[in-house]
């Protein structure tokens, strides 16, 4: 019964979100690595200011699609694409890739802070684009670290190397660094799979908060994580988008047999 109510709540919220243009729109998108087709005719809208989760077994193309949004897949030499992807109404393949990556931030599976101080890690992105005054820089560092839930732990050691932090702290530093350039979209590629349970809970909480003001897309192999953080979930299998919808509906009442089988652990 409660499930049903939640479902309706989600549907209402979703209807509200539908008024806006989708943040990312994918139309009949295909991607090949050499002869191997990793994505097959994917069409999907990713709503603005929501968290969207991509789930599916290993090798289903979910990470590939995520890495297409900021054109990180360009670095694979044999990659070839067909179809259209727009971020905020702009075709991502026609513009400059580096400019796109400033608007679309990314957090990786393994924390990867730059080999510099915590403060410089956060200021590096903004400083590339404009000069920052001392006070402005201090304020930016504090705000990003607060948004990433790390401020209280590192406020006294901002000058120390980011590589000296624990794994969970490093990951939150990477999130803070990604926030510093105020990206419209934040991509997260299995951001908690290298973290302990406590750090995972912190980062998940963070994702929910972050998705209030920006678009978050998270790839996860952890289905519970998708139910905890995502408003919308998309299920991929063998390069195809099998089903997508409000998270509650996809998990509570999936339409496709394939989705049901995956969710009930028939295959993984």
């Amino acid at each position: 019964m409660t499930d049903f109510e939640n479902e309706q709540g989600a549907a209402v919220r979703d209807a509200g979100a539908q008024v806006d243009e989708p943040m990312i729109s994918i139309r009949d998108f295909n991607l090949w690595y050499g002869d191997f087709q990793a994505l097959k005719g994917v069409t999907l809208d990713i709503p603005k200011n929501c968290a969207t989760a991509f789930i599916g077994p290993s090798g289903c193309g979910k990470s590939t699609l995520l890495r297409t949004f900021n054109r990180m897949c360009d670095f694979v030499p044999t990659v070839r694409t067909e179809g259209a992807i727009e971020v905020a109404g702009r075709d991502i393949f026609s513009g400059d890739a580096n400019e796109l990556r400033v608007r679309v931030g990314m957090v990786f599976q393994h924390p990867n802070p730059f080999p510099m101080s915590i403060r410089d890690n956060i200021l590096y992105g903004p400083r590339r684009m404009r000069r920052l005054g001392r006070a402005e820089a201090d304020e930016l560092v504090e705000r990003c670290l607060r948004d990433a839930g790390l401020w209280d732990e590192v406020r006294d050691k901002l000058g120390q190397s980011g590589l000296g932090l624990s794994g969970g702290q490093q990951q939150r530093l990477c999130i803070a660094r990604a926030l510093a350039t105020q990206p419209e979209v934040l991509l997260m590629d299995e951001p908690t799979s290298a973290l302990d349970p406590i750090s995972t809970a912190l980062v998940e909480e963070l994702m929910v908060q972050l998705a209030r003001e920006r678009t978050v897309v998270v790839v996860t192999h952890n289905m519970q994580q998708a139910t905890r953080v995502a408003d919308k979930t998309a299920f991929f299998y063998l390069g195809e988008l099998v089903e997508s919808g409000p998270t509650k509906q996809l998990f509570g009442n999936p339409v496709q047999q394939k989705t049901k089988d995956y969710l009930t652990g028939r295959f993984s």
């Binding site: 990180m72 580096n98 990786f108 393994h110 080999p115 190397s161």
Partner: protein, 305 residues
């Protein structure tokens, strides 16, 4: 499975492990002993001269005893600094290009093979090439600059490989972090990869410095075997006695050892040769220790402060 004797099997694999440990320890001990013997011999033989200030700063003698190695000591360091000034930027550029920019094609494959070949070239060949090309054809004569360029040819392949390896050893995730923020390859290289690779690069440079410092064959034919008396107050850059003049001949410590043993006529040549060898070895030992200390320090600074 029924007639498998587990305890016999365990006894056998434990015996194998003990034998392997014994063999490896004795090989290591043998190598260590040889090294220690050589180092001790050189230090003990050269000890009387090693702490003799007159020897370390005095000028060499042609016929009587009591000569020093002052100019040779200075020449060795000056030549080393010049060589590093030329070879480090070149190697850095080449290594960055090869590891970050070079497309995977025939030309870069040829370049990589050429570097590998150059690194296994005997140094006497490098010396003779330097003699024919820089000393004679370019008309530089026996000079520090000819020596420095020859040593650069000798040093570049090793440095390129060390730096390239250091850059490639930076975890892929670090590079992704830069690229995902929209940094260009250049920004990623300068601000992310180089700082992360710096401990390994500095260690490699200092270790290669030790090799360059002890090199003789490549220098005999390029920097020459004579050490003009140096006048440190002389600022006339064309004068052979001006220490900074790069077109003067300059015998180094290693070349001095070779020369004094092959054509020396001073009565105390054994003592001088032993003393020079000890000084050379102490310097190279210092380079090696320095390499470790600096490498560790940079590593620590990178991760903690």
């Amino acid at each position: 499975m029924a007639n498998f004797d587990m305890s016999a099997h365990v006894r056998r694999i434990n015996r194998q492990d003990r034998i392997a440990t014994g063999v490896l320890v004795s090989i290591a001990a043998f190598v260590m002993l040889m090294l220690a013997a050589i180092v001790t011999y050189i230090l003990v033989a050269g000890a009387p001269k090693l702490f003799d200030l007159n020897f370390l700063t005095g000028k060499p003698q042609q016929f009587k005893e009591g000569g020093g190695i002052g100019p040779e000591l200075f020449n060795s360091f000056y030549l080393l600094v010049l060589t590093l000034l030329i070879s480090v930027p070149l190697s850095l550029g080449a290594a960055i290009f090869l590891s970050q920019y070079a497309p995977d094609n025939a030309i870069t494959a040829v370049a990589k093979t050429a570097i590998e070949t150059l690194s296994s070239l005997p140094s006497v060949v490098v010396g003779l090439f330097g003699f024919l090309f820089f000393v004679l054809y370019m008309g530089w004569g026996f000079s520090i600059i000819a020596g420095a360029v020859a040593l650069t040819m000798f040093n570049i392949p090793i440095l390129v490989r060390v730096i390239q390896q250091a850059l490639e050893d930076v975890p892929r995730s670090q590079r992704d972090a830069g690229l995902a923020m929209g940094l260009t390859r250049w920004e990623t290289t300068i601000h992310v990869l180089l700082p992360a690779a710096m401990p390994a690069i500095v260690t490699g440079v200092v270790l290669s410095a030790g090799r360059v410092f002890g090199e003789a064959a490549a220098l005999i034919f390029t920097a020459g075997q004579s050490a003009p008396v140096l006048d440190f107050t002389c600022l006339d850059f064309s004068s052979p006695s001006c220490p900074w003049n790069v077109f003067r001949p300059a015998e180094t410590l290693a070349v001095h050892i070779w020369k004094i043993n092959s054509e020396g006529v001073v009565p105390d040549l054994t003592a001088i040769s032993n003393g020079t060898a000890a000084v050379l070895m102490v310097c190279i030992l210092a380079f090696n220790i320095l390499a470790r200390v600096i490498g560790k320090y940079l590593e620590r600074r990178l991760t903690s402060e």
